[in-house]
Symmetry: C2
Subunit: 434 residues, 2 copies
């Protein structure tokens, strides 16, 4: 039979949703390429960074998720470039020809041209970044306990989170909660609950995409956890000393970046039109201009929502809907049907703030507090991939909730020069997750 | 009150047992120094390497374990040397004077003078090594799936474990089990159950410290999992190609080292007498000659058992008993009592072989198979530190047992150059865990 070959680059929400939709469809065979062997549930990644969950609890092997999809081959490899004219994808090892291509390579953090801030203010997109943030946050308390210098101690106990979106709010709330509850009895020289946690936001308020009253609620929840919220405070410099604002300097050992994203370089590298953040500009059916067999979905895709007139946010539901839409478009086209336009169905949005508090907007309803947190919990558990992950995450949360402890307070080494096959060092980082 | 200051270097089984014994005793104050923030339950480390458990499930923050011990201060720092003449311990930051010192710095793997084998055959002592081994084993299956070259594929699917002690047997059994059950349906180009797993041992038989009939049982269990057991086969060379024996060369992409240990360099560095493996030679009360206030316990200690006439093995029960003995000796001496001699109370030994099989020798009884595995399971759960860890490990095991899956099939990057504060690189590895 004449099967069309669909190549999907990236096993995030968009790529995986497309692959699942195409699974065991007789008209296509599918190759899903990802440089990582696991799909990552990014909405809970901040909990790995905050020592609440283990990496394996929010990740699942792509191969195992798709083991029942007999027409899908999973390839663990790095895509280096795309040859649009010849319809081929190049990886480290080989080239793969496609009939249809879905680029779903995601994004990493962007620093608006201040890339030199990166070493001092890591972002949160991968498991390695999450364990690095965990190492820095827990390590700061350790260093504060050790030092006799009051200035140094204050610096170690100051945490600055740059960016007041949902990720920034979740990180700030979690550090506040950890210092007040989890660590309170474990140190002898310092009082962890005296830690300063500062959330700085360049815009006039945090959580700009939420209703203003809800965002104010979230700010109040943060302040109850001891987090200072500074709005209208763009960072002008970040270095080893801390963060400089227009009129002030905060000495801080730990600075976390949650302010901007930059799409995978694979879009711009392919010579297609991209916006400032590197996202590929697509047609209304998510294909790229002049290459109707190439689609882009998820964080890598620049799509203006017809209803709101705004850029769709880089969120899991957007990515999954786009991935499914592309799969349906391909199947329809092979079956001889016309293409339709992508429409985003907005089910709402939410953000947690520390322990047992959240804000949520769901189909026009707005709520904040414990009930919103319960909704947040149920939704995240429901969408988490893999029965085992769901089960273990529920248990981890229950345990943390009742004991005020955290299950993964483990500092692992940042670098590990001890062993390591020197012949394999070539793909040792530097590129965004494909 | 005049409290004696006890300094403990190392938060492994020996150091932690001593600290717990000294907790809240009015006659002493204790400083426990470890460069890591967590105590690691090493007997289950091979399951982290084999993707069955997450690191956090077998580790617990030392600080949190000892949070109720008000006279114990935990310091997360690297000990660089010890000044025996002045009774001080030097760390990166400062010097700490002691009245009593317990060195319990453990061991890492040793290569009998062939340290150049290390990059090609990692050992298993730390969490970083466990995730590295996991990366290599899972990565080999991924590479085998990718390649078209039958020679390369065969090399990627060949796994050699060097050393037929309990760790080697456990690793070999786990790889055999994983290739036959866990991965069987996940690949399209390769059949994981065709993987070659070879356990090589220099001596005449594996598990030399066990009764011969039990060891033969274990060898049969291994063979049923497809593991080839080659005894009388010392490795003569290990490099990027694989392992050379006296009369044969095995091309293997993954070689794991479970053959020898080398005690922490802190012993030899202090100028005290050590044996060939770097273990400190101690008196019958575990103190070092001519420094009666300095003790050594655990893997770092060379102690000949009076009953068997042999060196005590590097096992958790030995370390814990020695740690408690040293604590008691110190308390007794402060109370004016005489010192006694350390006597090891041998409760037995065991080793698992793949799925639901084990061998065990417990107070003269010997058994093999499912029942031995149940005993192994109960004992390990019982001694695992922390209620949460116990609970989650039991659940992980139950899930794996019934589904034939593994909960932590997650390849994380070996090196991560992406972020990383350049000012903090100085302790980036190379030294054994203190």
């Amino acid at each position: 039979m004449d099967q069309k070959h669909v190549v999907i680059v990236g096993g995030g929400f968009a790529g995986l949703a497309a692959a699942k939709r195409l699974a065991n469809k007789p008209s296509v065979r599918v190759t899903l390429i990802d440089r990582r062997n696991h799909h990552l549930f990014q909405p809970l990644l901040y909990q790995v960074a905050m020592a609440g969950l283990s990496p394996a609890e929010i990740a699942a092997p792509i191969r195992s998720i798709l083991s029942g999809a007999k027409n899908v081959q999973v390839v663990c490899s790095s895509v280096t470039s795309i040859g649009l004219e010849r319809s081929v994808v190049f990886t480290d090892q080989r080239e793969t020809a496609y009939d249809y291509l879905l680029m779903a390579c995601g994004a990493k953090h962007g620093y608006f041209g201040n890339e030199d801030w990166e070493p001092f203010a890591p972002g949160l997109k991968t498991i390695e970044q999450a364990t690095e943030i965990r190492r820095r946050v827990l390590g700061s308390f350790e260093k504060a306990e050790l030092t006799d210098d009051p200035e140094e101690r204050k610096k170690q106990l100051t945490f600055v989170i740059v960016g007041g979106g949902p990720t920034g709010v979740e990180l700030a709330g979690a550090i506040g909660e950890m210092s007040r509850f989890t660590l309170s009895r474990d140190f002898r020289n310092i009082d962890p609950s005296g830690a300063r946690v500062i959330l700085i936001e360049a815009g006039p308020r945090i959580l700009g995409m939420f209703d203003e009253r809800l965002a104010n609620k979230a700010a109040r929840f943060l302040e109850q956890l001891g987090v200072q919220v500074w709005t209208g405070s763009p960072a002008t410099k970040i270095d080893v000393e801390g963060v400089e604002l227009a009129d002030e300097k905060i000495c801080a050992a730990t600075v976390l970046w949650a302010a901007g994203v930059q799409a995978s370089s694979l879009g711009r590298g392919s010579g297609v039109e991209c916006d400032r953040a590197g996202r590929v500009v697509v047609e209304k059916d998510l294909s790229i201009p002049s290459h109707a067999n190439v689609f882009v979905a998820g964080d890598q895709c620049a799509f203006i929502d017809a209803k709101s007139g705004e850029q769709l946010p880089g969120q899991a539901p957007v990515a999954a809907q786009q991935g499914r839409f592309v799969a349906d478009t391909i199947l329809d086209e092979i079956a001889g049907k016309d293409r339709s336009e992508f429409k985003y169905f907005d089910k709402g949005q939410m953000a947690t703030v520390g322990r047992a508090r959240a804000i949520a907007e769901v189909s026009g309803f707005r709520f904040a507090g414990f009930f919103a947190w319960l909704v947040w919990l149920v939704v995240h558990i429901f969408f988490l991939t893999g029965f085992r992950n769901r089960f273990f995450v529920v248990l981890s949360w229950a345990w943390s909730f009742f004991t005020f402890r955290r299950g993964a307070r483990l500092i692992v080494e940042k670098k590990w020069q001890f062993y390591g096959d020197p012949s394999e060092d070539k793909d040792g980082g530097g590129r965004p997750a494909v």
